[in-house]
């Protein structure tokens, strides 16, 4: 590879936001015909780097080279004109428009008087779609496609221009296995044409299957580049998190109390079917599975946000109907939701008000909110959870992800729930806060709380759970105790393989 020049080279890129050094001297190069993986934990700076590359952010230092020439990306259009194409993770499609219009968004072929040249457009699009072997045509409305097919439309955009470098950001998140094969074919075609590819993904098996080299970011800093064949998952992980992956299980078990929650044959449309499990006081039950396996939907049902189509929910042995979060909270259920910014916090409100929101009706002195009592609650959980904020008046939107998450956890702990459900409690927060939150969850169980932890991260589930429920496609595949669980059996169970055969 030394004989060819890199097609795209980043040299010492620095990007700062107020208070944060998001990128700190990042350098790496992509060769023509190379699939280059970019890895790092959430918040490591991958997406900021891509925004710099796409011209959405301007770097504060460093330079971007294409071939020998230094380039300045003034905006997405310029990046595209220079042959850099982005395949976004979040679908950026206009649903009301046709597939063809979406693929050629921003550069529809023209005829006289600014008319769209529909014929050329359809021909070009259908040629691309043929290459992707999809079952829809150029004139289908994008809103009528499945999510996976929409992802394929997104991918088709890479094939419209004479791309020099294509950046795939988590492209397989919503693809089926068959569709993945097509995607990998597309990537190898691009590769054969001498296109440089940056491939961002968390899925190790994909990285090791298709990439040539791996570059790693951690906390905005470049950690190095390794050739894929010469490394293994463990070493890459170590580069990503700065230490060895802790796959230890939770060995400490508390005295288990009564059954706090029992679920019998619960179903909700197509989301999940025939779910039965129980959670005892003093126990942490982990729910592990792929995105879309139905775990979050179960939590939302238990919190009164979805109506189950069948089955029973029993709290302390008594069957209950939960029609709204108000009912659920009154029954002592708390949910730390998956989407911290969308569901957990009112970002424009201050820390104290966010924390006391669920009980604001009860914290009153006469007709008014008892602000003293509120501040007392805030202080208590700030100290207990070590929330770093300038004070309760700080807007929650200005805090770091970890501190925001702790506000949400504090909010629900202050309700003294009998059942605490946490959904992806450490998504997008730094390593230090992660282990604190894990400790906290164990500590809560020790105090006799019944805890449900939903997570997509295996180390987390292994680390905090007394028992692990493995889910696949809306069904419980198997329940493990922390003593009997192995990584292999867990992975098999959540992939729909093996398990105890109950639902397979």
């Amino acid at each position: 590879m030394t004989d060819t020049k890199p097609i795209l080279r980043l040299d010492g890129i620095v990007k700062t936001f107020p208070g944060v050094r998001a990128l700190d001297g990042v350098s790496f190069a992509v060769m023509p015909g190379e699939v280059h993986a970019l890895m790092g934990e959430n918040g490591a700076g991958k997406s900021t780097l891509m925004k710099v590359l796409g011209g959405i952010h301007q770097p504060d230092g460093g330079a971007i080279y294409m071939g020998d020439e230094q380039v300045v990306m003034s905006g997405p259009l310029e990046a595209k004109a220079k042959g850099i194409v982005f395949i976004h993770q979040e679908l950026s499609l206009a649903e009301e428009l046709t597939v063809a219009e979406n693929i050629y968004l921003g550069e529809l072929p023209r005829k006289s008087f600014g008319r769209v040249d529909w014929k050329t457009l359809a021909e070009k699009t259908n040629a691309i779609l043929k290459k992707l072997r999809v079952g829809f045509d150029a004139l289908t409305r994008v809103g009528d496609l499945s999510i996976a097919n929409q992802q394929m439309v997104e991918i088709a955009r890479a094939l419209t221009v004479d791309a020099k470098a294509v950046i795939f950001d988590e492209p397989t998140a919503s693809l089926t296995d068959a569709e993945k094969v097509v995607l990998f074919d597309v990537i190898s075609d691009l590769k054969a044409d001498g296109v440089g590819i940056i491939y961002i993904s968390h899925r190790m098996e994909e990285i090791f299957k298709i990439t040539d080299r791996i570059s790693v970011l951690r906390d905005g800093q470049y950690q190095g580049t390794v050739a894929t064949p010469e490394t293994d998952e463990e070493r890459v992980t170590q580069m990503m998190i700065g230490r060895k992956l802790d796959l230890t299980r939770n060995a400490l078990h508390h005295e288990l109390g009564d059954v706090a929650l029992e679920v019998r044959g619960l179903s909700c449309g197509k989301l999940y079917t025939d779910i039965s499990f129980e959670v005892r006081r003093g126990e942490v039950v982990g729910f592990y599975g792929l995105v879309g396996a139905g775990r979050t939907e179960i939590a939302e049902t238990l919190f009164g946000l979805r109506d189950p189509s069948a089955g029973q929910i029993l709290l302390d042995g008594e069957e209950v109907r939960l029609n709204s979060p108000v009912d659920a909270i009154a029954r002592g259920i708390s949910l730390v939701p998956e989407d911290r910014k969308g569901q957990g916090l009112v970002l424009g409100m201050n820390c104290r008000d966010n924390m006391t929101l669920p009980q604001v009706d009860d914290l009153t002195a006469g007709p008014f909110v008892a602000e003293g009592a509120e501040v007392a609650i805030f202080d208590q959980y700030r100290d207990q959870l070590d929330i770093r904020t300038p004070g309760w008046r700080a807007r929650v939107g200005n805090l770091s992800g970890g501190n925001q998450q702790k506000i949400v956890i504090g909010k629900w702990l202050s309700m003294h729930p009998s059942l605490l459900i946490v959904d992806e409690p450490t998504r997008g927060i730094d390593v230090g806060s992660k282990s604190e939150i894990h400790k906290l969850l164990r500590g809560l169980a020790a105090k006799g709380y019944a805890v449900m932890v939903i997570s997509s991260e295996m180390p987390e589930v292994l680390h905090v759970s007394d028992r692990i429920v493995a889910m696949y496609s809306g069904r419980i595949m198997r329940t493990f105790t922390s003593d009997e669980v192995t990584e292999d059996s867990l992975i098999q169970a959540i992939s729909g393989l093996g398990g105890d055969g109950k639902a397979a």
């Binding site: 796409g54 905006g75 997405p76 259009l77 595209k80 982005f86 976004h88 950026s92 499609l93 206009a94 649903e95 009301e96 428009l97 219009e101 968004l105 921003g106 550069e107 529809l108 023209r110 008087f113 600014g114 008319r115 769209v116 009528d144 909700c268 449309g269 197509k270 989301l271 939907e297 939302e300 009164g304 946000l305 979805r306 109506d307 189509s309 709204s324």
Partner: protein, 333 residues
Amino acid sequence: MQPGALSKALKNGAIWGFIVLELIFFSVAGEFMSLSDTAFMDWENMLLLLKQSAPIGIIAMGMTIVMVNGNIDLSVGATFAIAAIILLDSMTWPFMAAMGDWAIPFAWLFALIVGTLLGALNGLLVWKTGVDAFIVTLGSMLGYRGIVFMFNGENPTSHLNWTLVDFAEAEFLGIATASWFLLAATGAMWFLMTKTVHGRNAYAIGDNREAAVNAGIRVGPHMMINFAIIGFLAALSAVVFYSESGSVNPNDGQLYELWVITAVVLGGTKITGGAGSVIGTFGGVIAIQLLRKGLGHIGADTSTVNLVIGLILIAVLFLDRQLNVKGKEALKV
């Protein structure tokens, strides 16, 4: 049939179904309640209806692209009034008066240019300041109205030019001048929105603004052009209407924005942008005018028209919500 296709077909055809219903209802009810002897479904009556739809209808075509683009324009009524005053006032200017009837095309041109510029000013403000279109045009609705009063205080501005009146009252192939302008505006906007790159980009911006930005579509100029278009059409509407009437009150055009938005929403344009069609809007305009005329035909007064239109607007919104209702297992937030 694909799932959802039925509800979609229902939605797309809803406005025409509604028009047919109105026609049937007023024809039948008219038999028993009408004060006049003529039938409601009279050809002459329908042609008159088309003509009367023109002032609102022409503006509604512009509102369609502005709303599809994800914006709104509340200032159209004031722009309408300013253009009307320019039209009539300019013909009294000395150099214009000296030209005799040749002043007419210039008066038209002046009015249309002013309308376009006022619209473009709204667009420029939305683009450059980043203030929401609702607020910008709420402000200019007041501001432009203030400008209207500056011409002649609270007195009407009048100028009758009989050549102009003759032209406006003329009929070609049995269809009135105003109706021709409505049809032309509809046709032109239909072409713009379905056939041109600008029109398709307008949909993309309203549908998913971030995607449009990522694809390199320049959002600002598109918005400005669309505001200029609605300004132009508001002026065109004024020009067509006041060529005939020859006198404008400073309060004319008030509440037009409400009628126009009602027509556009009835016609199926999404309030949040990204979806809608000129043809649907045309249906919405006709439906409203039918309702006004029909209620008049069966002897109801203006108050009933206001009441009925308001409630129908809400009912349409409600039905739309019911048709799009998600499954029972959906998240209740």
